[in-house]
């Protein structure tokens, strides 16, 4: 069985999400690091944050985040630092600058518009008495549903 263990050790060494040795001793700082890295995208992965990715680069970025934090950076400074190097691609939560406003505001705007239209349609419906189905329609329905 030793060769098995060897194969496993040699081939199956994905560096996985947050390794124990990466973690900071200060729990408050470590919490901040986790929160930050959950919002940062691993640049070489497909839609994974660096917090959950097992890629080598993600591991390095996790260390960078922790280094910056221990150096006394604020959360925003850490983000700025990474954006300056990797572009806004790394931010899983898009900024609210420029065209991104469309992204953030489109849905609330649509909700207001939809509510407005819905309200109009409901209000406008005439107060005429509701006839329900006409006799002819009722007969047709009965015929169809009770063959």
């Amino acid at each position: 069985m030793r060769w098995l263990a060897l194969i496993v050790a040699l081939l199956a060494s994905p560096v996985w999400a947050v390794e124990p040795h990466e973690m900071l001793d200060d729990p408050a700082l470590e919490d901040r690091a986790r929160d930050l890295s959950a919002g940062l995208r691993c640049p070489v992965c497909q839609n994974e944050s660096i917090d959950e990715s097992s890629a080598q680069l993600a591991a390095e970025l996790r260390l960078v985040v922790r280094d910056r934090l221990t150096a006394g950076d604020t959360d925003q400074q850490v983000l700025d630092y990474l954006v300056a190097r990797y572009g806004e691609f790394v931010l899983l939560k898009p900024t609210t600058q420029g065209a991104n406003l469309i992204l953030w505001l489109a849905a609330p705007a649509l909700l207001l518009i939809a509510l407005g239209i819905g309200w109009q349609v409901i209000r406008r419906s005439p107060a005429r008495a509701d006839e329900g189905l006409t006799e002819a329609e009722k007969d047709a329905l009965d015929k169809i549903l009770r063959p």
Binding site: V8, E19, P20, N47, E52, F89, P94, A99, L111
Partner: protein, 657 residues
């Protein structure tokens, strides 16, 4: 030989589908009964032909026929039998064939169980359904033929992606496809009604069971996928807002809106053209989902077919069906005048609000999913839209929906009063807020997410129970319970599904707010406490599985000296696919899951071990099961059952709401 026959059957089915698209449409237009009547045998033969073709492909996988290219690329002779079978649809070509099989199955069902559809409507529905299949036959035959042979068959295959070798994932695609494709029936009914120029209560009644069934399958499919992610990907996440997940979530949201608005059409003959639009959109999002997955345009962990030619083909299909049907809609929607009138405060208005919230939340998912593409093409910005965006932008709509749900479902049809609906709910509202306050006090200083989840869960579940109780009418307990028992299945379905919504809402908030994580290096023999449990790493061994090798740890869990369980997390390696996977060990519990993952050996002889305590994890999928069960119960309602009118057993019934 069998494979060539299967390929030929597929071509033949293609021809039949073309005939089924054209002839019944002309027949319905001219009033020629013979031409209309050909739709039914044609639908049946399509199903038989595709069924044969699919069975042949499955046989090729079962017998490991490596002369077929798909089998070589996606299978291996050592793979366990169940994954050989599920391997049939675990690849692009096979999954498209499964899609077609389900499409023709639904077409066949529409032909076999027509429930007294008028002749012309049936002919048109089947013709539209066949036109969808034509597009997908062409797609399979011209871009992704599953029966392509290899000139020199290899000795063995290249194996299925090990992540996909899992029971949860084996049945995830069929359910999703049943959902996606089920919506094609709603679409066919909508387009047929537009051609016919007529939507009435009966139409609403015919389209509802298909939508319900599709929604039920989508619910199961999405829940299976999420459950798989939870136990397989190794950190217990259950939803990632991945483009491919969103692709299945968008039709789910629209289908949920559709099945509510179809009730209004059926009961009140209102919202007709809106319902038609929803039916078109629901299938449009299904096609969009297929496009996203198949083209790999929005790359994600799921995309296993990354082929631009195929992507363009599906884009054309999407543009044709959505564009065509929307054009038809624009031209014909005017004839669909609604004659049901309702007051501002009524069940109808509440369902309009439900539809608006669901449609807008679907739009949030949509814009978030395509925004990176738009931003890159239109503004030259490369950016990401990830979970933090969706959490922030999507959740408020769900909160609004959950808040409005119990109120809306208690409102009377046509003209209700808010005060009357509100009165019985006060008790629940107070209870919900009180429990939330209590939770907040107990959890001391953590996020507000947990208490909000508690309040919404109690509110929604309570509202659903109260709804049932009030439907029991007046009188003593016994009378009420008897009447509640005799309520139409649709009422029961509604209550069960709404309870499911409450449970899932609560569970999602609960797991996000209260999960505990511990990551550390443990030597063999080490013991440590996490959240009241004591974990002991007692052993790590190397073992050999059928087509993988594994490193398995033994971790004993005790609580205050009592044995709780022993967990065996694994780290597997699949040599053929050259891929490692983590197999978390999970002890499921009602109130919490214990979730343990073994990691890398450390330099000093220890092992990295991650422990998670995940509260209410199973409630997430429990709620989904309740939602699907609610849909199933509704489906068995007498009025939706095919030919139900024929049997005249009179029971003291209450009209369904």
């Amino acid at each position: 030989m069998l494979n060539e026959l299967a390929h030929f059957a597929l071509i033949l089915a293609f021809a039949v589908a073309i005939a089924q698209t054209v002839i019944p449409l002309i027949g319905a237009h001219k009033g020629w009964r013979g031409w209309m009547a050909m739709a039914q045998p044609a639908a049946t033969s399509q199903f038989i032909l595709v069924g044969f073709s699919f069975a042949a492909l499955m046989w090729a996988f079962v017998t490991s026929d490596f002369s077929l290219q798909v089998v070589t690329v996606n299978s291996h002779s050592l793979k366990p039998m169940i994954y050989k079978i599920s391997g049939t649809w675990g690849n692009h070509e096979g999954s498209m064939l499964l899609w077609l099989l389900i499409l023709t199955l639904f077409g066949g069902c529409a032909a076999w169980f027509d429930g007294g559809l008028p002749e012309t409507l049936r002919a048109r529905v089947l013709a539209v359904q066949a036109s969808v299949s034509v597009a997908f036959y062409a797609f399979i035959l011209f871009t992704s033929n599953p029966f392509a042979r290899l000139e020199v068959p290899p000795f063995d295959g290249q194996d299925l992606n090990p992540l996909l070798q899992d029971p949860g994932l084996a049945f995830h695609p069929p359910f999703l496809y049943l959902g996606y494709v089920g919506l094609s029936m709603s679409f066919s009914f909508a387009v047929a009604a537009l051609i016919e120029g007529r939507v009435d209560a009966a139409w609403g009644r015919w389209v509802r069971p298909w939508t319900l069934a599709a929604w039920m399958f989508l619910t199961i499919g999405i829940a299976l996928g999420s459950w798989w992610a939870y136990y397989e990907l190794g950190w217990g996440g259950f939803w990632f807002w991945d483009p491919v997940e969103n692709a299945s979530f968008m039709p789910w949201l629209i289908a949920a809106a559709l099945l509510h608005s179809a009730i209004v059409v059926e009961k009140r003959e209102a919202l007709k053209s809106w319902t038609i639009l929803l039916a078109i959109l629901a299938f449009g999002f299904s096609l969009l989902g297929t496009f996203i997955v198949r083209s790999g345009l929005l790359t994600s962990v799921h995309a296993f077919a990354n082929d631009p030619e195929r992507g363009v083909f599906i884009l054309i299909i999407l543009a044709f069906f959505v564009g065509g049907s929307l054009t038809l809609y624009a031209a014909r929607a005017k004839v669909l005048a609604s004659n049901g009138v309702f007051g501002t405060v009524s069940r109808e208005s509440a369902l309009v609000l439900n539809n608006i919230l669901l449609a807008v939340s679907c739009f949030v998912v949509f814009i978030g999913t395509i925004w990176p593409l738009v931003a890159e093409m239109a503004f030259g910005r490369t950016l990401s839209v990830g979970p933090p965006f969706f959490d922030a932008a999507f959740s408020p709509f769900m909160v609004l929906l959950a808040l409005a749900l119990p109120l809306g479902s208690l409102l009377a049809w046509k003209r209700g009063t808010l005060t009357r609906a509100k009165k019985p709910l006060w008790g629940w509202a107070i209870l919900a807020v009180a429990l939330a306050g209590l939770t907040f006090a107990i959890q001391s200083g953590r996020s507000a997410l947990g208490p909000i989840g508690v309040a919404l869960g109690v509110w929604v579940v309570g509202g659903a129970l109260l709804d049932l109780w009030l439907r029991g009418g007046r009188g003593g307990w016994v009378d009420r319970l008897r009447r509640i028992r005799l309520l139409p299945r649709a009422d029961w379905g509604k209550a069960v599904a709404h309870i499911g919504v409450g449970v899932t809402t609560f569970a999602v908030a609960g797991i996000l707010a209260w999960q505990v994580e511990d990551i550390r290096v443990a030597d063999i023999g080490d013991s440590y406490d996490v959240d009241g449990y004591t974990f002991t790493l007692s052993d790590v061994r190397s073992l050999e599985g059928p087509n993988y090798v594994t490193t398995m740890a033994t971790i004993d869990v005790t609580k205050q000296g009592r044995d709780v369980t022993t967990l065996f997390p694994e780290k597997r390696f699949y040599p053929v696919a050259q891929m490692p996977t983590t197999e978390a060990a999970i002890r499921n519990g009602v109130l919490r899951d214990l979730y343990v993952v073994i990691g890398e050996p450390q330099g000093n002889g220890g092992w990295a071990v991650r422990v998670y305590i995940k509260p209410f994890a199973n409630w997430i999928w429990g709620g989904c099961i309740l939602m699907a069960l609610g849909a199933l119960i509704s489906l068995t309602d007498r009025r939706l059952r095919v030919g139900a009118g024929a049997t005249k057993t009179r029971r003291p019934t209450v009209p369904a709401e």
